[in-house]
Point group: C2
Chain length 228, copies 2
DNA sequence: CTTTATTTTTAGATTTGTCTAAATTTGAAT
DNA sequence: ATTCAAATTTAGACAAATCTAAAAATAAAG
C-alpha cells in the first residue's frame, strides 16, 4: 500500500496485456503472444510482477491482476488513450494510426504532463476508437448509456450525453438538435463508412458520421415492438 | 550513405552530448559527466557509435562527430526542441520545466509525428529557451540578427524579424509596432524578471517580457557613440 | 487409469548498458 | 629525459529482458 514503484516500459506493457486478457486469469502463451515475445520470457516477467504485488500468480495456473495491479494498469491505459486523443484531434492522425505511436508516448513518466495533457484535451472520456479513458483516480467512466455506434438498425433511443467535453463536439450536437433527452430511431447504417441516419418521431432525419456516433451516448428503448 | 539505422535512446543521448561538447573533440570524462555515467561506459558507447560511422574516434584522443553524426544529432535536437515548444506553448509548462520531459519525448521514433507536431506548432525556429530548432533537412536557422535578449543596455538596433511564425507572436509585435525595419534603443533590463524597456528615437517607450525579447531578432548598430 | 499432446516452467546463453578496479597512455613538471 | 598525475582504456561482473532447447506439469483421449 506504499507509493507505486516506478515500472519499466516492459513491465507496463505486460500489465496492460494482463488487464486486457485476464478474465479473470490468462495463460502464459496467450500473454506472450500479446506482448510479442515467448512463453518463457512471459513467465520470467510475471514472476517479477508477482513479487511487486501487481499480479497474482500460481505456477501452471495463469495470472490475474491484484487490486493494485488494476490501478497501475488503469494509469497506463489512461496515458495511452489520452495520447491517442491528442494524436487524432490535435495532430490530425487517423484513428487507425494512433495506436502504435501512443504505445511509445504512454511510457513517458510524468503525472504533471498527463494532468496538463488531459486539461488541454478538455478531459475526454473516450479515445478516438470510442474506448473509455480511466479517470485520474483510477475509476472508469461508466457510459450513461451505450454508444450510438453500437445501436442496431431499427432501435429507438433517447440521447443520454456526449462522450467528451470538447466545444467542437458539443456545439455540433447542439446545432443538429441531438441533445440529451431527445428521442430518435436509427434507420440506416451506411456500410461503406459507417455513417448513421437517425430520425425523430416527427420525421426529421439526420446523418451522423461514424466518428460522431461513437461520441454520442444513448439509452435504448425496450424494443421496437410496442406491446403491453 | 544508406538510410540511417535506428538508434537507441542511449545512443541518441550520447550523440547529443558529443554535439554539444565537441569543438571539435571531447574527452571521455567530460562526455561521461554529461550523460551521467562513468568514463568506462562512455568509452564502450563511443566505440559503438564509431562503428556506425557517427563519430570519429581515436584511442586516447577523444571523439568528434562525423558529417552523418551531425545530421543524426540535429534530428534528435529538432525533436527535443519541438517537444519543448509544445510543452511550453500548448500545455503551459514554464520554460524551465520543459527540458527533462522533452528529454523523454524526443526518443519517440516517428518522422510523421514530428512533421505533424512541427506543423501544429506553426514551424517554430526557436525553442522556449531561445535556442534554434534544426529544420527537417538538418540545416540550422541562422539568426537574421541576434536575439533582443542578448543585446546590452544602451545598444541601438533595427528589428530584423521574429523567431517564429505563431499568430500570437506576430500579432503582438505588430500591435506594439515592433516590426521589421523599425529602429529602437534598449534603455533598461529589469533584473528581477528580465523585462526589456526599449524606446524609439521619438521617445516612445515599450516594455517587452524576457520571453518576447527572446523571440525578436534584431540587427545591432555600430555603436552608441555618434562620431564621424 | 494410462498414454499422449499441450502448456508451462527451468536452465543456460545473449545483448545492451552499466559498474568497479586494474592496467595503459598521455602530457606536464622537474 | 624521467617521474608523476591525470585521463583513458581494458577486464570482468552484473541486471534487465530476451531467446532456444530441454524438462516438468496439466489436461485430454482412449
Amino acid at each position: 500500500m506504499n507509493a507505486p514503484a516506478l515500472l519499466t516500459s516492459t513491465e507496463e506493457n505486460y500489465l496492460k496485456a494482463v488487464f486486457a486478457l485476464a478474465q479473470p486469469r490468462i495463460g502464459t502463451n496467450a500473454l506472450a503472444d500479446r506482448v510479442q515475445t515467448k512463453a518463457s520470457s512471459a513467465t520470467d516477467m510475471i514472476q517479477r510482477l508477482a513479487e511487486k504485488g501487481l499480479v497474482e500468480y500460481e505456477r501452471y495456473r495463469g495470472v490475474g491482476l491484484t487490486p493494485s495491479g488494476r490501478v497501475a494498469a488503469a494509469a497506463v491505459i489512461r496515458r495511452h488513450r489520452l495520447w491517442e486523443v491528442f494524436l487524432a484531434e490535435k495532430l490530425g492522425f487517423g484513428w487507425h494510426e494512433v495506436h502504435d505511436l501512443a504505445e511509445e508516448l504512454e511510457h513517458v513518466q510524468s503525472p504533471e504532463l498527463i494532468r496538463r495533457l488531459d486539461a488541454f484535451l478538455d478531459t475526454p472520456s473516450y479515445d478516438p476508437h470510442g474506448d473509455p479513458i480511466p479517470r485520474a483516480d483510477g475509476t472508469w467512466p461508466t457510459a450513461a448509456g451505450i454508444r450510438l455506434d453500437q445501436v442496431p438498425v431499427g432501435q429507438s433511443f433517447a440521447v443520454a450525453g456526449a462522450a467528451d467535453r470538447t466545444d467542437e463536439l458539443l456545439d455540433y450536437l447542439h446545432r443538429v438538435g441531438m441533445v440529451p433527452g431527445t428521442e430518435w430511431t436509427l434507420s440506416e447504417i451506411v456500410p461503406f463508412d459507417g455513417t448513421r441516419t437517425v430520425q425523430t418521431r416527427s420525421g426529421r432525419t439526420l446523418d451522423l458520421s461514424a466518428l460522431a456516433a461513437r461520441h454520442v451516448l444513448v439509452q435504448p428503448h425496450e424494443s421496437q415492438t410496442p406491446n403491453a
